[in-house]
Symmetry: C2
Subunit: 456 residues, 2 copies
């Protein structure tokens, strides 16, 4: 086993995982003057030919963008050059004929569709520009020497074992984090992973030869059908990445691609036309089924403040609030703020108690939002509340904020605070709704009485 040791004047940081959150963390630490090394089990995405068929398109929004901006304004701009803004949801009804736009923000705020692979490549390029060493095909095998200079032990594609020591180490290796598993051997970390009874299949809507985008480009398209749903997010080339979500029983009840096509004809007739029968049939036969899992862990740091987990490794959530990556980027920003405030040793320790309530909050919101996306968006009471909510938001400006606005467009409001505010507001809206109904009822009785009076 070869030995490597980072012993410069400045602190050395080793990061496991060169996905989105790992790369952003690396850039943040480099910007602060740390010596950073990244390890990634997979190959360099620049060498990969095959498209990963398990990436639900991402929506980068306010919290994610703020982190990028704080690292480097130019980097944020570079990312935003390649997004497609989505100003609302477009709800497709079951006839395939009607579409209804539900706007996200009070003031035209948008969430931004971006391709995961593309974003990852931009970040890796930026790391290369800053001379950060990224070891691809270096799989984490073991953490060791945690007392003093924690070591990351890896195995590479040729079976060679290597050992790298650092001052601090960070795990950003996703929901199935090996870093987290290793860290658990050195500390008492509570941990839970819960599979949601839901699968997803990635589908593809090609560009339109004439109008480029076959459906409106600036919306997140949803086909809500209660127990299951289809969504589609735009890509820059005019295509849409579409995802079908359903309980496992629904997909397993279909044996052949033909049945899947029939299912689409019945439930998503316009989407079937957009995707095409043959590609849909092939997708059913070839594309993998993804599973959905929530992960929570606590605390996130080792007791001595030498190691920490961030992103999906600490809090993997279902994708229904579009906050997974944004929250992971926010992890990095919060950590940087704490480093500025307390220094790195204390920051790693302070992070856990300070961050927990917000991570718990967004994981719960993400789960609840499946119900909102698949069912509530067509419910008359939900729509009435939403309308009232947004009206109040327009009238009272910063004093009244819809939950979606707070979560997606207000990085100054922590997730847990957003839930608190929403609870208070919901109570008021409900009271207003009850008030309106009561007033209408009283007015009705009054009219009836008047009518009776007249009859007499």
């Amino acid at each position: 086993m070869s030995q490597h040791s980072q012993k410069q004047d400045q602190h050395s940081v080793g990061i496991v995982g060169a996905g989105l959150v790992g790369c952003v963390a690396a850039l943040a630490f480099v910007s602060k003057g740390y010596t950073v090394t990244l390890f990634e089990a997979r190959d360099d995405p620049n060498n990969q030919v095959e498209r990963n068929l398990r990436s639900i398109n991402l929506a980068v929004s306010n919290r994610g963008i703020r982190t990028l901006k704080e690292i480097d304004e130019n980097l944020a701009e570079k990312v935003l050059e390649h997004v497609i803004p989505m100003k609302g949801r477009m709800i497709h009804d079951i006839t395939g004929k009607k579409q209804e736009s539900q706007i996200y923000g009070l003031n035209g705020e948008c969430i931004n569709s971006i391709d995961r692979a593309y974003l990852n490549k931009i970040l890796l390029q930026e790391l290369k520009r800053r001379n950060v060493k990224v070891y691809f095909q270096h799989k984490l095998v073991r953490l060791s020497n945690m007392d003093k200079h924690p070591a990351i032990e890896t195995i590479n594609s040729t079976g060679e074992m290597e050992r790298f020591t650092f001052d601090y180490i960070i795990g950003a290796d996703g929901a199935h984090s090996q870093f987290r598993y290793q860290l658990q051997k050195f500390m008492r970390m509570s941990f839970a992973q819960e599979y949601i009874d839901m699968q997803y299949i990635e589908l593809y809507i090609p560009p339109d030869p004439k109008k480029k985008f076959a459906i409106d480009a600036n919306h997140l398209h949803i086909w809500p059908r209660h127990d299951f749903m289809l969504i589609a997010l735009p890509n820059q080339d005019g295509s849409f990445t579409s995802t079908f979500f359903s309980p496992w029983s629904v997909i397993e009840s279909m044996q052949t691609g033909e049945e899947f096509v029939q299912f689409f004809a019945k439930n998503f007739p316009d989407a079937l036309e957009l995707i095409g029968e043959k590609p849909l049939l092939e997708a059913f036969e070839k594309n993998p089924r993804g599973s959905l899992m929530q992960v929570s862990a606590y605390p996130y740091n080792s007791p001595n403040g030498k190691a920490i987990i961030i992103g999906d490794a600490a809090h993997s959530m279902v994708p229904f609030y579009g906050q997974g990556m944004n929250c992971g980027f926010e992890d990095v920003r919060i950590l940087m703020d704490l480093i500025d405030k307390y220094g790195i040793d204390t920051a790693f320790i302070e992070y856990s108690p300070q961050r927990k309530k917000d991570l718990d909050a967004i994981c719960k919101l993400a789960l609840d939002n499946y119900y909102e996306m698949s069912s509530k968006v067509t419910n008359i009471w939900y729509l009435a509340k939403k309308k009232l909510d947004y009206s109040l938001g327009r009238v009272f400006k910063n004093k009244w904020l819809p939950l979606y606005t707070m979560v997606s467009f207000r990085d100054d409001i922590p997730y847990s605070k957003a839930i608190e505010i929403e609870k208070r507001q919901t109570k008021i809206v409900s009271n207003v709704q009850i008030g309106v109904i009561t007033s209408l009822a009283i007015y009705g009785v009054y009219l009836a009485a008047k009518l009776c009076d007249k009859k007499r």
Copy 2:
């Protein structure tokens, strides 16, 4: 890497973990005619000199004994020859002068103190007698080939990798199960581990030179002090294995062995005398602090019914109901019953939904029982309820069963059923208690009124 393959006429079973549950499972499968191979990361306990200082003494009771009996009546007898029956709890008060016996069973039933290492050795001897191959110092590295003949890949003490294939594989490798971790790569297993804010230190009460046992041999001794407690279980040589449980903050507030001794002088004066100042001081300085964790997982089996986890690997619980091992042995019995009923393939699949509610139930009971042991045993209302509960139990025989009796002495009542019955009974007892108080109050008013009458 060397390759081994078990391909006989009979089915082959590989078991990871040669602790208590793994050994019992191996014996059960051998009894049914399977070819069994065991793998254990640690060394053969017969080669170990050092005593493991992290084993809270075990209490084998009804459920555990039943499993042993169903495998082999002689084996059960051999085990029971070396236990010390405990017929109740002995509560030690804070003055160190008063002890109070609280009997466990209605009809003199006992739980049985036994040394973990000793029990493990008996089981390993039995496996040797039956020519079951046990590979010690073979650490599980990977599971593979899960579709057809699942493979257990191990690394031994000299760094040699080996691969063994079987028809069925079983994980019985404890709370930190590597088998479970590997199995999660092939299936959607929900999983949670939660650390309880509590540590324990093992202590030792030596035999008495005159009377052999310094305190009553046939009790589980408890020094309940609400936030923390001390317990002691008898060993055959006259000694007691004692364990001090407390929140981490309590033990961490003490810096030196002297402080620990002072703490004992204040809270457990009689125990201090039994242990001795010097050994107590040394124990504080040398003995490791154990942590307590609850583990739950679901489902326990791979979807194809080729792999399953049992014992602590599936459901590690805190030790306060003395059911961890008993429940693990019961896992084996339930699995054997299902094999008899459905055949092995279906049994592995049927086991999960059938066993879940009982495992959830006992894990919760174990946690709740800390409160009972450390606090409630001195509470007047608790004692009144218990007395009434046991009186009703004596009067109504099998129609009224205290919870402790059902859990510890009635293997015919599943854990979840025991909780159900207890809930119903508690309601009745509470009503009786309220009835008695109300009657007393009415009688008091009546007496007062009579007194007033007289005065007039």
